[in-house]
């Protein structure tokens, strides 16, 4: 599938590049977690595509579970702090947990999730992210065990990543045209990434 609306300025990562890298990550995870049956935890909605493809490439038994949290923009008018919209269905105490993210930018969301999960005493807790955009990182101490791609300082969409709930379905990761972003207006329901 291409970009039907012509909103993408540049394809940053093709479907083939993503497939290849996801396979490499799966190999590394399977090697490191052999005999540990990890629980892969993902945050709705942005990481769903990545988690799905990643688990299909894993050669070890895994379980998956999902969380959903409010993002700053979506909750600004209602609450001053992050709210858990959907909690995990399973207990993680004593489990080997791998947090699967679509993108880590400032690290604020990942940092919050790590604190939340760490408080439940997992046997281990690590991060796997498809994209790492470190230019605005605030939580420099965040340790990323598995990193798909380090990307430049651009606003990207596709393969689960959205802009105002659009473009998630694109099979590649692309840079949105500046005109689309310039048209941004304050929106009460910001995207969950």
């Amino acid at each position: 599938m291409t970009d039907p609306g012509g909103d993408i300025r540049e394809i940053l990562l093709t479907r083939e590049q993503i497939d290849d890298r996801v396979g490499e990550l799966a190999t590394a995870i399977a090697r490191d977690y052999a005999d540990r049956s990890p629980l892969l935890v993902s945050v709705l909605k942005g990481a769903v595509y990545f988690l799905t493809d990643l688990t299909r490439r894993l050669a070890i038994p895994v379980e998956i579970d999902f969380m959903a949290i409010t993002t700053y923009g979506s909750a600004r008018a209602q609450s001053g702090v992050v709210r858990l919209i959907k909690d995990l269905d399973v207990e993680i105490t004593g489990r080997h947990v791998l947090l699967v993210e679509d993108i880590i930018d400032t690290g604020l969301t990942a940092g919050y999730l790590l604190r939340l999960l760490q408080a439940r005493s997992p046997a281990s807790l690590q991060i796997c992210t498809l994209l790492d955009r470190p230019y605005r990182r605030i939580l420099d101490t965040l340790e990323i065990a598995y990193r798909g791609f380090e990307i430049p300082d651009r606003f990207v969409v596709g393969y689960g990543l959205d802009y105002r709930e659009q473009y998630r379905h694109l099979p590649f990761i692309g840079v949105l045209r500046d005109e689309i972003l310039s048209d941004a207006v304050a929106h009460p329901r910001a995207p969950e990434r």
Partner: protein, 128 residues
């Protein structure tokens, strides 16, 4: 512009709306912050009096990190960049980050928000 502060302390009066918004983002994700808690002397006159200093907007104590938000016009950013270079020379052990207008704008776009009063295009150094 007033903002909240941790531990029930008195509300902070921010110099710019972008600072208040940034503080709200930090609050949202549970990151403790202090507003302009420290002044770093940059230059002194012959009698040892401070003639130039720099006050980073935020200090995040749990991360030991200072953050400066710069949503100014390019001409003013150039002057601030010079001060920041001096700061890094004099205080190499201080952890410090600057968020330019472009960074701040991208941060808000991530949350589906439009930054008020921030120029549309990049203001950071050309080498970024």
């Amino acid at each position: 512009m007033k903002g909240s502060r941790e531990n029930g302390a008195a509300p902070v009066r921010f110099a710019h709306g972008s600072e208040a918004e940034f503080a709200r983002i930090l609050d949202f994700y549970g990151i403790r912050w202090e507003y302009e808690p420290r002044s770093f002397p940059l230059r002194w006159d012959g009698r040892g009096r401070v003639t130039e200093s720099f006050n980073p907007d935020f200090y995040l104590p749990d991360l030991n990190l200072y953050i400066e938000l710069t949503t100014l016009k390019q001409s003013l950013v150039t002057r601030k960049n010079r001060k920041i270079r001096r700061l890094r020379e004099l205080y190499p052990d201080v952890h410090f980050k600057i968020f330019y207008g472009r960074d701040y704008r991208q941060l808000l776009l991530k949350y589906g928000l439009r930054p008020a009063g921030v120029p549309t295009h990049a203001e950071g150094p050309a080498s970024r």
